[in-house]
Structures are given as structure tokens and as C-alpha cells.
């Protein structure tokens, strides 16, 4: 969804900074999130995504810059803002001393809802999260996917205007991830604004209208998944894998074949508009890779280009 200039941003950050002692976790970032948008923070571990989310969620005070959420100041109106947010933290914070349904009931009470209303919404949300059968079960024996669904259900008990999802599907199996994506997509269609962090590129492409890439506490790129690929990568990528030993002899051999060439320990990536043509041209030069894979560029290519290939932690 494009930014609508007529509607003021739901979340507005300028120069937003978070410091822990001498360490700067978030370094003067600017971003806006529009109502109804699905907005993503993409970045490697330690890039500052979670710290940013906590500041938006009014559970961590900013060290500098300005931030407004739903038109309010987190510094002074934290409870009012939190009352309209739904938060799915990176690690589940479910109350393990309570049952599945009790988790929903008491969470509704924290938001000041009546007991009757909590009960009504709890039953609806159990249905939504496909947990109706487990309502009276303890939380502890639930699978990771069930706990995640319960966490999302819990975050919806106050009918939030904005959902903050910090790595919502990390650690889940593919079935559980797809079920969650489906649920999040439905929420989006109902007009709920989604703000999420992820390091899964497919997740970002599936869910986000717009995203920013964070690296080392800063925002290094911003745009829709499509536009980021266009801007920072090519349409296609040809991946060539050579026999052991051959790889080291190939320096310079790809010059002029593609827009960008990347030598990895085990393969060579050629970024180009037409991957097939590159593969043919390489063959014409006498290059004989063991395998060739031509694929479309993904956000992963953008991500690796912007944040580098070395491990962060």
C-alpha cells in the first residue's frame, strides 16, 4: 500500500536513537508507517530491529530523536498507546502458570475489558488461532507453533489498531509459518496496521508492503520488496557451481558478462537482466560449470548485498 499523503502517519520517527551505555543499538533512524500498511524491518541479528520495536511499543524509552505512535508521545502517553497496540514479542511471554484460555482472559483484563467481554473475545480468538480444543490445556506442553498462535491471539484481545510482530515465525516449521502468514494477512485485510521484523526474506516478500533494511543500527535502504530488488539487484541471477579447484582459477574470466559478479567459496553469482543469456555467453567463453541455476532475484540478494555476507554474531 503506498503512503497516502493525506493521512498522517501512524508511527513517525525522526532521528530515533537507542543507546545502552556506550553502545548505540539504534542510530538516528527516520521512518513513517501509514495506517493499514504492512511495514517491515529487515536486518541481521543485532541490527537494532528489536530495540526499535520496543521503543514503538513503549516498553523501552528512546535515548534521542522524536517518536510519535498513533499521534501520541510514548514518553508521556505510554499506557494510552499500549492500550491500542498488539505486541508479539520475539520470545513468547505466555503465562505458563495459566491455561491457554486464562492467558487470553487475564490479558484482556489488563486492558481494562470486562470479564464478560474477555470471555467472548477469548472464545473468538481461540477459534481464530485454531486452539479451541486446547483452551483448558496448560501452556507449557503446547508446540512452538501453537504457542506462537496463542501469542498472536493474545495480542489481539484489545482489538489493536497496530500490531508489532518481532520475528513472528522464527523457529517454526513451514506448516506453522504458512498458517501464521495466513492469519496475519487476514488481519491486514481487516485494516490492522502490521509492523514486523524478520530476517526471513520470503516472509518480508509475502507480508510487507514496504520495508526498511537495517544494518549496524542504521537504515540502509527503504522501499517495497519489488523496488528494492530493482534498485539493489538485477532481475535475474545465474548461479554457477564449478568443480573443486576450478573456482580459484576463474578470476577475471566473467568480466563484462553480467552487471555484477560475486565470487563465493563454492560458486559464482552473475547478476543480470537475462540470466539465461549470461549462461550461454559464459559457455561460449569456454567456461564449464558443473551446474547452472538461473533464478529471479529475491530480497535475499538485496539483503546480502546491503548487509554483507559475513556472520554478525
Amino acid at each position: 500500500m503506498p503512503m497516502n499523503p493525506a493521512s498522517p502517519p501512524l508511527i513517525h520517527a525522526r532521528g530515533l536513537t537507542k543507546r545502552f551505555g556506550a553502545f548505540t543499538a539504534v542510530d538516528a533512524v527516520d521512518f513513517d508507517v501509514a495506517p493499514g500498511e504492512a511495514f517491515g524491518f529487515l536486518g541481521p541479528n543485532g541490527a537494532g530491529k528489536t530495540s526499535t520495536m520496543k521503543m514503538i511499543g513503549c516498553t523501552s524509552p528512546a535515548s534521542g530523536g522524536t517518536l510519535t505512535v498513533l499521534g501520541m508521545d510514548p514518553e508521556t502517553q505510554g499506557p494510552e498507546i499500549r492500550g491500542r497496540l498488539g505486541v508479539v514479542p520475539q520470545q513468547d511471554t505466555l503465562d505458563e502458570e495459566l491455561t491457554v484460555r486464562e492467558n487470553l482472559l487475564i490479558y484482556g483484563r489488563y486492558f481494562g475489558l470486562s470479564r464478560a467481554e474477555c470471555g467472548r473475545r477469548a472464545d473468538e480468538l481461540l477459534e481464530f488461532a485454531q486452539l479451541s480444543e486446547r483452551g483448558s490445556s496448560r501452556v507449557e506442553p503446547l508446540s512452538g507453533g501453537m504457542k506462537r498462535r496463542l501469542t498472536i491471539a493474545r495480542s489481539l484481545i484489545n482489538e489493536p489498531d497496530v500490531m508489532l510482530l518481532d520475528e513472528p515465525t522464527t523457529g517454526l516449521d513451514p506448516q506453522a509459518r504458512h498458517l501464521l502468514w495466513d492469519r496475519l494477512y487476514r488481519l491486514k485485510q481487516r485494516g490492522v496496521t502490521l509492523v514486523l521484523t524478520t530476517h526471513y526474506m520470503d516472509e518480508a516478500e509475502q507480508l510487507c508492503d514496504r520495508l526498511v533494511v537495517m544494518d549496524k543500527a542504521k537504515i540502509v535502504a527503504e522501499g517495497s520488496p519489488r523496488s528494492l530488488i530493482e534498485q539493489y539487484s538485477t532481475r535475474e541471477v545465474a548461479e554457477m557451481r564449478f568443480a573443486p579447484g576450478v573456482q580459484d582459477t576463474l578470476d577475471g574470466q566473467f568480466n563484462g558478462l553480467a552487471d555484477r559478479v560475486e565470487h563465493l567459496p563454492d560458486r559464482v553469482l552473475l547478476y543480470a537482466e537475462d540470466g539465461e543469456a549470461v549462461a550461454v555467453a559464459a559457455h561460449d567463453r569456454g567456461l564449464r560449470p558443473e551446474t547452472v541455476l538461473v533464478r529471479r532475484s529475491t530480497l535475499e540478494d538485496v539483503f546480502l548485498r546491503l548487509t554483507g555476507r559475513s556472520l554478525v554474531d
Binding site: 499506557p79 505486541v87 502458570e97 490479558y107 481494562g112 467481554e117 473475545r121
Partner: protein
């Protein structure tokens, strides 16, 4: 699901109770299943009363009570056990259970994502600790009244006095717990509460100690609480009670203040 309504359609709920109340509600959910744990704490002071008050008391006979008049030993010990029971109940909640919620269950992190604040959490948890201590106090006062060990109607005031003691000890215990790193540190709690129980003029008058030691004993909240409650159950009022009340109240406020600050540091990073 119709749970997602536009903002203007959302029901606004009036707020009659303070937000901290929801912490108590949460704990009631938990204890609905595990109420036996609470009940067990009621018997400990009762056993001591039988063993010390009646068993040992038979050998001891009368001792000097708060007003200087002789009273049966059981009557001397009973208010101290009431005070200790209330304190232990509050401290158990404020230390061990609080530590678990703070460090392992991540309960508070979840709560702080809602409109509740760290102060609501601190107040709610201490209030819950007081409720547990208060339940023991009520149960015990009924028992000692039935046994004829609380002779004055003033004994009813022992319940708020026990709550005040629970507030002081619970809040300080909670503040201390917020500094604890692992459950091994809980040995420290026992090292503090057990001698407090034995030596805070619980089983014999403070005059037994040499002058220098009395000052140390008088620092403990339990001593102040025992002296206050003993005066009430025996029915001897004195101006020192005002000091005892103020002492416990201030101690509790300081504990609450430190707890709130620590929670803010630990949970709102």
C-alpha cells in the same frame, strides 16, 4: 472473527479498580488450582503454638507482658507467631514467587506491553503478598481468640497490623529479590528470616538481651511488628505503637520505591 472493530466502535470500559488489581486477579487464577500451597502456610505457626506455647509454656509459666503484668507464656508467644506467619506468607510471595515471575516466566514483560506500568506491577505484587499474609493473620487470630489467648477486642486490629508488617517485610524482600541473580541466592532469605523469627523477641522479651543487642533486634521489621501485635492482642496500648506503625509503613514505602525502580531498570531496557 469480529474482534477487529474500527477504533471508534471499541467499547470504552470504565476503570473502577486501580490497574494493579489485575495482578491480584492473575494470581487468583493461579491459586485457584494450587490453593493447597497457601493452606499449608497456615499450619506452621499453629504447630509452633502447640509446641512452644503449650508444651514449653507449661515449664515456663507466666512471663512479663507488654504492660508489665504477668501473662501466660502461650499468650506471649501467640501474637509473635501471628506476626511471623503473616510476614512469612508475604515474604514467600515477594521473594521466591516474584523471582520466578521476574526471571523465568516472563510474566511481567507480557504485562508491561499492556497499559499497566512497572509501578502497577510492583503495587499489585506486593498487594498480593499482603493478601496472602493477611489470610494467615485472619486464620490465626480466629484460632488464638478461640483458645482465649487474645483477650482484648483490640486484637481485631492485629489484622491490619499484620498487613502492615507484611507490607514492610514483603516490599523489602521484593526489592532484595530484584537484585538476585540465581535461585541459590534464596539461601540468603532463609539466613535472614530464620534468625529474625527466633530472635525478634518472639519467644522471650527483648529485655533478655544486653542493651547493645537490643538496638540491633529493634531494627528488624518483625520485632516492630511483634511488639505492635502483642500490644493489641493483650490489649495494652502505648505511644510507642505510633512509632512502630510509622517504622513499618516507611520501610514498606522504601521497599516499594526500590522495587519500582528496579523493575523499570530490568524490564524497560
Amino acid at each position: 472473527m469480529s474482534a477487529i472493530a474500527p477504533p471508534q466502535a471499541r467499547a470504552t470500559t470504565g476503570r473502577v479498580m486501580p490497574r494493579a488489581w489485575h495482578l491480584i486477579e492473575r494470581n487468583l487464577f493461579v491459586y485457584r488450582r494450587t490453593w493447597t500451597i497457601i493452606v499449608s502456610g497456615f499450619f506452621e505457626p499453629l504447630f509452633y503454638l502447640v509446641a512452644m506455647g503449650y508444651g514449653l509454656g507449661r515449664l515456663i509459666g507466666d512471663v512479663t507482658g507488654p504492660g508489665g503484668q504477668p501473662i501466660p507464656y502461650a499468650m506471649f508467644v501467640a501474637p509473635a507467631l501471628l506476626a511471623t506467619g503473616a510476614m512469612n506468607g508475604a515474604v514467600a510471595e515477594a521473594t521466591f514467587n516474584f523471582f520466578f515471575k521476574l526471571n523465568y516466566n516472563r510474566t511481567f514483560q507480557a504485562i508491561l506491553a499492556t497499559p499497566l506500568s512497572v509501578r502497577d506491577v510492583a503495587v499489585g505484587e506486593i498487594a498480593w503478598a499482603l493478601i496472602r499474609g493477611g489470610l494467615y493473620a485472619i486464620g490465626f487470630i480466629v484460632v488464638i481468640a478461640a483458645l482465649g489467648l487474645a483477650t482484648s477486642p483490640l486484637a481485631l486490629l492485629a489484622i491490619p497490623a499484620a498487613l502492615l508488617l507484611g507490607f514492610a517485610a514483603g516490599a523489602v524482600g521484593m526489592a532484595a529479590t530484584s537484585f538476585m541473580r540465581s535461585h541459590q541466592d534464596f539461601d540468603l532469605i532463609n539466613v535472614i528470616t530464620l534468625p529474625m523469627f527466633l530472635f525478634s523477641a518472639t519467644f522471650y522479651p527483648i529485655e533478655t538481651y544486653p542493651e547493645a543487642i537490643r538496638g540491633i533486634v529493634a531494627i528488624t521489621p518483625l520485632y516492630q511488628g511483634v511488639a505492635l501485635i502483642r500490644g493489641l492482642t493483650v490489649g495494652v496500648l502505648g505511644p510507642e505503637m505510633l512509632f512502630q506503625v510509622a517504622y513499618l509503613a516507611v520501610m514498606g514505602m522504601i521497599g516499594l520505591w526500590i522495587t519500582s525502580r528496579r523493575l523499570d531498570r530490568l524490564l524497560r531496557k
